[in-house]
């Protein structure tokens, strides 16, 4: 079953045209897709379009068969009515590259507030789950701390916990391990693997090729706003066909 697809998406900024130039991506239930590619290739922008933070210039966006956006007759993109978008928003979660934690909430409140206030779930249940999540992330002793009191890696882990606490159908990660040490990267990997086993669908932008190889079923290599190559992660990373992909991955061996 297709959980998410974005088709022929184009996006320009006033100061930078063709950040995304007609790329498409479709994700099946339970799949873990890793997106790799050089800096500035449009990976974050793709996630932002997918999560409705940025409007596409043209293209189609579909979640579980429900259209969030499509090309109107005049070629301009049309977004679904607010109500539909609201329903769609409950289907995905996003972990930001720069965390965006709420500075005025404690760690625990950052993680529990949305499940309680948005999903209207039982307080006790949410707290219990959140504490388990924080423990998994090695943050048990930071539950009452405020974001400004955390190290970079700690902030990143809180932001992952916050997204996971929402139990979305599909989770987007923008460089979830960029501020983590290898030890924690390993632990996040476990978390993501566990999620994968529970059939959580995930799209992960990452610079850690090894991480991508291990955690993802499929790897997508992006450059300059288009997909250059995609396929089974072992295959793409070990035996890329495209020259650009080869050049990119070659640098891996510093």
């Amino acid at each position: 079953m297709e959980i998410f697809s974005i088709n022929d998406v184009r996006k320009s900024f006033s100061t930078q045209t063709d950040v995304l130039c007609g790329m498409s991506l479709s994700v099946q239930k339970g799949e873990v897709v890793a997106i790799i590619g050089p800096s500035g290739s449009g990976k974050s922008t793709l996630l932002r379009c997918a999560t409705l933070l940025e409007t596409m210039d043209s293209g189609e966006l579909v979640y579980e068969g429900i259209k969030a956006a499509w090309n109107g007759p005049d070629g301009n993109v049309v977004y679904a009515p607010e109500e539909t978008l609201k329903k769609i928003k409950s289907k995905f979660g996003l972990v930001f590259q720069n965390f965006n934690l709420f500075p005025h909430y404690s760690v625990l409140k950052n993680v529990t507030d949305a499940p309680i206030c948005v999903q209207k779930r039982q307080k006790e249940e949410v707290y219990e789950e959140a504490l388990t999540l924080l423990k998994k992330m090695g943050l048990s002793d930071k539950a009452d701390a405020y974001p400004f009191q955390l190290s970079g890696g700690q902030q990143q882990r809180v932001s992952i916990a916050r997204a996971l606490a929402m139990n979305p159908d599909i989770l987007f990660f923008d460089e979830p391990t960029s501020a983590l040490d290898p030890e924690l990267t390993g632990e996040i990997l476990h978390v993501i693997r566990d999620l994968a086993e529970e059939k959580m669908t995930m799209v992960i932008v990452t610079h850690e090729i090894e991480f991508a190889r291990i955690v993802a079923n499929r790897v997508v290599f992006m450059d300059a706003g288009v997909i250059i190559e995609e396929g089974n992660s072992d295959k793409i990373i070990r035996n890329p066909e495209n020259e650009r992909t080869k050049a990119f991955l070659r640098k891996l061996n510093l």
Binding site: L53, K89, N98, N100, P103, H104, A114, C117, V118
Partner: protein
């Protein structure tokens, strides 16, 4: 006149001043928020309506607004004015005037919350009102305490304008006593009253500011 009697007279005026002050804040602080949100709304019509409202409220003297609110019903609709209306006219005029000033302060505060906060809230599914009330508003409050204090302190002094429609508050009483007695005593009391009132307001606001220091931006 005995000092006791003078203080008695003054305290009546004080009661009026404090009442105007409290009622104005109670209504204009939320109203201002509402205006700020409409001012920042995407709908151009609403936006421009609020822009005009703010422009008129800030652009004309409060005293004139008082006169219009009080005498307007008579001059425009021919309604006979009841004496009770004097006080409520003052409250209405103060509330709509101060709401405009507060609205602009809120707008500045809201605009300085980084966009990442909206994005995080949006992705987590917060409705726009939840986003505002739970995420943006508390962070905005931290930023706007000093300018809000400025306006609140201006309000204390503006209460004396109520006399334009013959509501005798503190300052008017003091002035009348001073000219009847040909001494400054009443003015000194009035000055002390204003100053203490101000100190209290400044103290309360500084405390709120300190309380909000539990987190950093």
């Amino acid at each position: 006149m005995s000092l006791g009697l003078m203080l008695n007279k003054l305290s009546e005026g004080m009661a009026t001043s404090v009442l105007i002050f409290v009622l104005t804040l109670v209504f204009s602080l939320p109203l201002g928020l509402f205006v700020a949100l409409m001012r920042m709304n995407r709908h151009k019509v609403l936006q421009n309506l609020m822009r005009i409202y703010i422009s008129i409220m800030r652009g004309t003297p409060l005293m004139l607004q008082l006169l219009v609110v009080y005498f307007g019903p008579y001059y425009i609709f021919g309604i006979k004015l009841s004496p009770d209306y004097r006080f409520w006219a003052v409250i209405i005029a103060f509330v709509i005037n101060y709401a405009a000033y507060f609205a602009e302060i809120y707008r500045g505060g809201i605009a300085s919350v980084p966009s990442g906060q909206y994005e995080a809230a949006k992705v987590l599914g917060y409705s726009s009102s939840q986003t505002f009330l739970k995420i943006i508003f508390p962070q905005m409050v931290k930023r706007i305490i000093p300018p809000i204090t400025n306006e609140v302190i201006t309000l204390i002094k503006d209460t004396s304008l109520a006399f334009a429609v013959a509501v005798t508050e503190m300052f008017t009483v003091a002035k009348a006593l001073a000219s009847a007695e040909k001494t400054m005593t009443a003015y000194i009391f009035a000055g002390v009253f204003y100053y203490v009132f101000n100190l209290i307001v400044a103290f309360v606001m500084e405390n709120i500011e300190k309380r909000l220091n539990y987190y950093r931006l």
